[in-house]
Symmetry: C2
């Protein structure tokens, strides 16, 4: 079982400090929502976001959307060998069941994430698919008790994907953390939580590309397709 954490993800509701910005008010009104009940999104709120601290890392829920779809669509998730959580910059942890059928359209994903951030669970009733807890990443890792915590970062030890997949498969309960943001770098808090820092390619890759390379390489290493062919 591989645990994948998409960390420091660019996912939050519009902060109250910029909720009265004209562009944000207008966009919320068009959706008949209160500004603070809408997702911060650089494509809609670019001017207002620039006034926030750490602005380059914020307002990119599309990065998380594509990363989650890549993970949930993977062979590893299909074979029930993936446990998935999202950590946000504001220290929320979202557990995502690996059989969740996430909306493939960004507009619907936005609505779902707004609901999740406001009500802490999706769906509102019945069996939970996504659940949000206020919890620091350090506490999440303590509770997960991984046998090794890896962080994918450009400054990490140069390790080609196939070697990294072997490394992951040699661990009993590996946790792989990938950044859920488009620009900027990890905080020192996150960096200090990683036992091993790994670089799979010496140039920046998008978050969903890293998710794909890691999960597909692990599935290949485990020969999941071959096993499934033989058993079917």
């Amino acid at each position: 079982m591989l645990v994948l954490g998409i960390v420091e993800s660019s996912l939050e509701l519009v902060p109250s400090t910029i909720a009265q910005h004209p562009a944000i008010k207008a966009a919320a009104a068009a959706r008949r929502k209160m500004p603070e009940h809408t997702l911060l999104d650089e494509a809609v709120h670019s001017t207002a976001i620039k006034t926030l601290t750490d602005s380059e890392k914020r307002g990119r829920p599309d990065v998380l959307h594509r990363s989650l779809l890549t993970a949930l669509d993977s062979v590893l998730a299909r074979e029930n060998l993936l446990r998935l959580f999202v950590h946000t910059g504001a220290d929320a942890i979202i557990e995502v069941k690996s059989h969740t059928r996430l909306p493939r359209r960004f507009a619907r994903f936005t609505g779902l994430m707004e609901q999740l951030l406001l009500t802490k669970r999706v769906p509102p009733q019945g069996s939970i698919l996504m659940q949000l807890r206020r919890r620091k990443l350090a506490v999440q890792i303590q509770q997960l008790k991984p046998s090794c915590t890896f962080l994918l970062t450009e400054g990490g030890k140069q390790t080609p994907p196939t070697e990294f997949a072997q490394l992951i498969c040699s661990e009993e309960k590996p946790l792989v953390m990938i950044g859920g943001f488009a620009h900027g770098s990890f905080t020192s808090t996150t960096m200090n939580l990683a036992e091993r820092k790994v670089c799979i390619y010496p140039a920046p890759l998008s978050a969903s590309t890293v998710v794909g390379i890691v999960l597909h390489s692990v599935a290949n290493q485990l020969r999941l397709s071959k096993q499934r062919f033989n058993s079917s």
Copy 2:
């Protein structure tokens, strides 16, 4: 050099037969466009699409969007080892330069594809990034002269991704065709153009997942990360 073709892609402008449908007229008016100048999209036009032939394969430009992003973000594209084209159900061929910076947001991708389908090229002036030609897939393949034409399909020969990557790498100029639609099956025309039909996993996978598995497995097979580490 690998040639990737995303074929029978679910990409077209609203056909004139349903352009007067109230939902389609309203959605176009909200964007201040003529209905026939907007992309057919099942998320907006679901009722009207059901009246079309082959409706299950149509109106899913998001499938192509995610597949293209997966391809263009890949290490193979970064290393200039990928040539990419899109084939649509209406027999148009779109050549996509591998250094194209495609809009990551679906709304902007929609606008760009509308421009491309109307004007046949993007950007309108200067060096071409995407070019559309009316051309059958058979003609495109004749012009490309691949050493072998592969088609990824569930009914193909069971071949785990690492073995498929070896097969691709043993070819001088392989063409890999992946379906750019969400539901339904290939036409017999496309099936007949494939010299080898391959199945990499014995259950349906999303188009972008198949693109990712194939391109990442080929990059691993070629040890591209290792080469780049050594040369940097």
